[in-house]
Amino acid sequence: MAFNSFSYFLFLPIVYLVFYFTADRWRWLVLLSASYGFYASFKAPYLLAVLLMVTGISYACGLRIAAQQDEAIRKRWLWIGSFSCVAILALMKYLPLLESRTNSIFGFNNTFNSTLISIGVSYFTFQAISYLADIYLEIEEVPEQHFGRFALYMAFFPKLLQGPIERAGDLLPQLKKPYQCDYNAMRSGMLLFTWGLFKKVVVADRLALYADQVFNNVHDHTGLSLIIGTYAYALQIYFDFSAYTDMARGTGRMFGINLTENFNSPYLATSIADFWRRWHISFSRWILDYIFKPLQMGCRNWGQIGTALALIIAFLVSGIWHGAKWGFIIWGLLHGLYLATSTYYRPYQKRLHKWLGIEKNKWLKWWQVFVTFNLVSFAWVFFRTKNFGDAWYVISKWFHGIKGLWSGLILSQGSYVLVLLIAMLMEVLLVSLLMKPNIIKMINRSAIVRHTVYCLLSIQIILFGVFTLDPKFVYFNF
């Protein structure tokens, strides 16, 4: 059940009404049942078993770590818990690959659906490891004793499938708080949800029509068509993923829960390091805190090489986390290399800008934004293409002709080409009305501005939204 499906549009108000009319001491049970029901809608019962298993392991190991004074035993429980979670994740992610390799040798049929098998697992296993690490490091001083509330922390449906990966200190206290219906939280939650829906069905899914045309048949395209396809995918993945986060945060707000913001205008980043402070923030914080920092500190006597190595390994892990495909590993490796090389040239770059007197120049800033966006888009090519051959074709043909551009537009958008132009005009009006990127602040604007935005959003969702029978978000696959 994706957030942009009709079943979710029914599910959400029903869950809210039951939640609202239930006594406060049982509300966790309503949300927990709803979360497991939500997960069950993917018709893969083993996923529920995996969720329950990861929840049980992290709950028990958390209690064990906190109960021990002996450092060695605490560490042992941390390793047992984390290793079990990683083993479950690896099994879920790489089982279809192993099976298909084995079957291709022995000629058997595949029994696993590789796209659905691990939906959500990457997120809640990472959250479980973060919980155990925070208890071990005493950042989280008291482990959660109530199994039901802990299970809800792991399974809370708005963040179950695609995060944000919530730290225990941020989410658990909110789940224990008595619920108070707040009119403004409801309004801002609904607006955030609608804004996410708009970003998903109007922007991301429409960009996807073109990006899919290009990346599913790369050999039908050359030059400009490939460049536009690459940029279209870069924008698609951002709008798709940030839309999901907005819809998750919007849903959370309705239940009085504030989930972590996952994006902060990442394509306005002025460097790759800056990009990772703005893109998939809950995930990059996880990689930084639990992979990069321990590695960097462990190698601190190696100087700059130690830091560069820690960066490459951390981003390699990030690539592997995305799944069993060489493209993800190359994507992770590229980001690791971007960052590792920047540790060497950045001090000289800063000195050069200072010497030229341009360190505060706005043109320099926009140049850096342009370069960063292109470096990120280049890495997305490996992430999106089906195999290395396709990726190499895209890169090598970027500056050769325009084959496939017009047919791609017509095939993907059909008679919508003209309508899209009108949509773009409305977009300009919408953006100029918003001014500030923070949509939640819209609820404080004057009634005329507010209602114009509400109407524009609704009209565009109805007129230009792409609705399918089986809606999916890009990051469902990871």
């Binding site: 071990y136 490091l137 950042i139 930084l288 321990p294 500190m297 462990g298």
Partner: protein, 78 residues
């Protein structure tokens, strides 16, 4: 020289800013240039100056300058 004074000298040197005045509640967000890359220089300089060695857990737990000072004092007293 107290720990905080000695530490202040190290901060001025690592972040190349002689006007820097550290306080116990100061975090990486309060110091220009204090990112994960300069942090490793800070830690190795502190370890060399005070002749001590932090464990990984001690380093990962520290949230602000106050935690850092407390850890240095604890190690020097041991």
């Amino acid at each position: 020289m107290t720990t905080i004074e000695a530490l202040n000298q190290i901060f001025c040197m690592v972040f190349d800013d002689d006007s820097l005045q550290i306080t116990p509640d100061m975090t990486a967000n309060d110091v220009d240039g204090w990112d994960s890359l300069s942090h490793v220089n800070l830690i190795t300089t502190i370890e060399a100056r005070f002749n001590l060695r932090f464990t990984q857990k001690e380093l990962l737990k520290q949230k602000n300058v106050g935690d850092l000072i407390a850890e240095i004092d604890r190690k020097l007293a041991a």
